[in-house]
Symmetry: none
Subunit: 417 residues, 2 copies
């Protein structure tokens, strides 16, 4: 926070334009047959030429070995020190969820709102021992992801909190997240998960009087969930923790005086952008070309543009190496088109890596290229994982890239005379 | 501080000799015509050969994107974790000021003393609204630097605090710093700057009884300043903040048991050296040759030498790329002469970068080469921004270089058995 305050104090306004072109899950690991990653395989002459003119490096979103979800990944990318924002884990889970159910149906346009109560949960088993109900297995014996998807859909259909909407977000195996939406929901709740099997589940308690209504509602949620799941063979209760509303995060505009626009087509990323106070622009379709068109049309209206390409991540989650290569190749010409706008600073990066070979987010340094007219360039020969790490930026924290972009844009005064 | 304590505890004395050869503002960015920086352009065979024999890297004085002033830059270079020293911003501004007025005349030999009360300020405008005086513009409508220089001179002539000396240091546009020198001035004052236009200026208040006298004096300073500036068309008051005396910083000798000498010709750097407890040696002229001569003559008398070359920074501030190249070239032979002394460890570095192309301090990694008889060398082919970053030191914090030099000098015991 000290750091954020300093940066905020050093910032001043000018008329520079900054583009963050974010390939979700950009980086990969070598394909076992070729020894090359997706970026190393793709024919991307424009992105490669850009990397040669840029300062390159590899970003770590959350330190050694930690693969970030989309929420933490993006917050770090926009310079927020996660450990200093009291972001309930439930909020982070929801920001990163890939699937959402509402009233028993998939819900494709969920966007987290500041008054939503978010929580993460485990599907678990309850057992009767004597006259006590205790947790048999707090991970529902590692229930399969498919079953837990089904359970989530059932929960979203079965729970009825009068006057409140309930959204359920299935995760991997026993994991899920939930949101209760409605009036008068406040943070400040204890966990219901005792963190050990063999103990009784706890009721959620309010840590302050304003949160009492939320506590009551969450306990009712658990009661109904246990009823809905009574007949489920694999999981018959839920254990909730990390419950809270999204914190009020100072917006990028407040912090740095930049007017920000998000050009993202998927709800989650639009939600994150909104949380950070960006103007979320309408994109007429899901096509990347329409994203670039939206960028062109709005170029004069904002200082900072966040353009988010989702599909590199989606196909990598499915393990489709060739599809990820293809998406990079499709975006190459569009990226060149974006460069024709008169940007002062352009960053190509990601929120995290999603190697198709692993089929999930990873902890690897995020290949990143930062360009301005006066940047120290010339070390990386292409936009790849291995070439970028030869560049001037080196390996560093994701949260460094926004301050570096602001500095290259001439928006940071010096510290001390 | 934890770190500083550990290092201090591990230190022991031997008869090794260490040289820190500091080119102020050493690093640059590429010239738009040639794509080369000043260091890449200069013919500096001795410095290049030295880099090839050294461990090289790039130092960041204050993290990503932050261009340090000379005060913070030097403190980091000498291993002080800035965030743990309660250095009033006024002190940092004064340590970094380029110009000083005293009694209406330029004062070339100002050196900050431990009992000086330093403060930073804005020139601002006061307006009468009804019967209230409020701040019209707290940046004096971005008064031109030349006008603010004139206003500073006028202030230094017009303010008369009985028994106290007043020094005024003009900065860019509305910024200035001031020092009150005399008896019984203590830290612990609130800011007079309400940080928003449209509010009334505040009186400075003492946060502890010992500071009451200083508070009274600062308020009198503001009263007189407003009188002196009454007829000024652009700025008619001052807003003060960051007021305090230099903290007592443990000296390098106390911390590491090294007897330190500073060979610096400009007052600011002599002042910083004195703050850190160095012996500030007399140099017979401003010439670099006399600096090296002073080094030769005093070689036997100290353990650690800080030799500061100012001009690389001064000419870069003026945007004079060729002059900066020339100064590196002039210093090359002198550096070789210094190497003929029997140093155990030699570091070539800077307090920050000052690219001529940008005309101001920058945040770029500071090209740095560390040599000892047993150093791991051989990655950098020359002393340049881009070559140094290929070296063993990598990109790291400025505060790491002194511990590394002490270790190479065999002055650090191992930690734990």
């Amino acid at each position: 926070m000290e750091r954020l305050r300093l940066l905020s104090e050093l910032c001043f306004r000018n008329d520079s334009k900054i583009l963050f072109w974010v390939f979700d899950g950009i980086g990969g690991v070598p394909h076992p047959d070729t020894g090359k990653t997706e970026l190393e395989t793709a024919q991307i002459p424009n992105l490669d030429a850009f990397a040669r003119r840029a300062s390159c490096g590899g970003l770590e979103a959350h330190g050694a070995g930690v693969a970030p979800g989309s929420g933490p990944g993006h917050l770090s990318l926009f310079g927020y020190p996660l450990e200093h924002f009291d972001l309930p884990r439930g909020v982070l889970e929801v920001l990163g969820a890939q699937q959402c159910y509402h009233n028993g149906k998939p819900c494709d346009d969920f966007a987290l709102q500041p008054t939503d109560l978010a929580m993460r949960g485990n599907y678990a088993t309850l057992e009767r021992i004597g006259d006590r109900l205790v947790i048999g297995d707090r991970r529902a014996n590692n229930i399969a992801t498919e079953s837990s998807d089904e359970v989530s859909r059932a929960l979203s259909a079965g729970i009825d909190l009068d006057g409140y909407d309930v959204y359920i977000f299935p995760g991997k195996q026993h994991r899920f997240a939930a949101v209760i939406r409605g009036a008068d929901l406040r943070s400040g709740l204890t966990d219901a998960d005792p963190q050990r099997s063999g103990l009784s589940p706890r009721a959620v308690e309010a840590e302050r009087p304003e949160a009492q209504h939320a506590a009551d509602l969450v306990n009712e949620f658990v009661r109904q969930a246990t009823e809905v799941l009574e007949a489920e063979p694999e999981a018959n209760t839920v254990l909730l923790r990390g419950i809270g509303t999204p914190p009020s995060v100072p917006s990028l505009q407040e912090l740095y005086g930049i007017k920000c626009a998000a050009i993202a087509t998927y709800p989650m990323y639009r939600g994150i952008a909104r949380l950070l106070g960006m103007d979320v622009l309408d994109v007429p379709s899901m096509s990347h070309e329409d994203q670039v068109k939206t960028l062109e049309e709005n170029f004069n209206k904002h200082d900072f543009f966040y353009l988010h390409i989702k599909e590199t991540d989606s196909v990598a989650h499915k393990g489709d190496f060739d599809a990820k290569v293809r998406i990079f190749e499709e975006c190459d010409a569009l990226f060149a088109r974006a460069l024709e706008l008169d940007f002062d600073v352009v960053v190509v990066t990601g929120d995290h890596c999603t190697p198709s070979v692993l089929g999930d987010h990873s902890w690897h340094p995020i290949p990143t290229a930062l360009w301005s007219k006066t940047v120290l360039s010339g070390q990386a020969s292409a936009l790849t994982e291995r070439e970028c790490l030869k560049g001037m930026l080196g390996r560093r924290a994701s949260r460094d890239i926004l301050p570096l972009a602001l500095a290259e844009a001439g928006r940071l005064k010096k510290f001390g005379a």
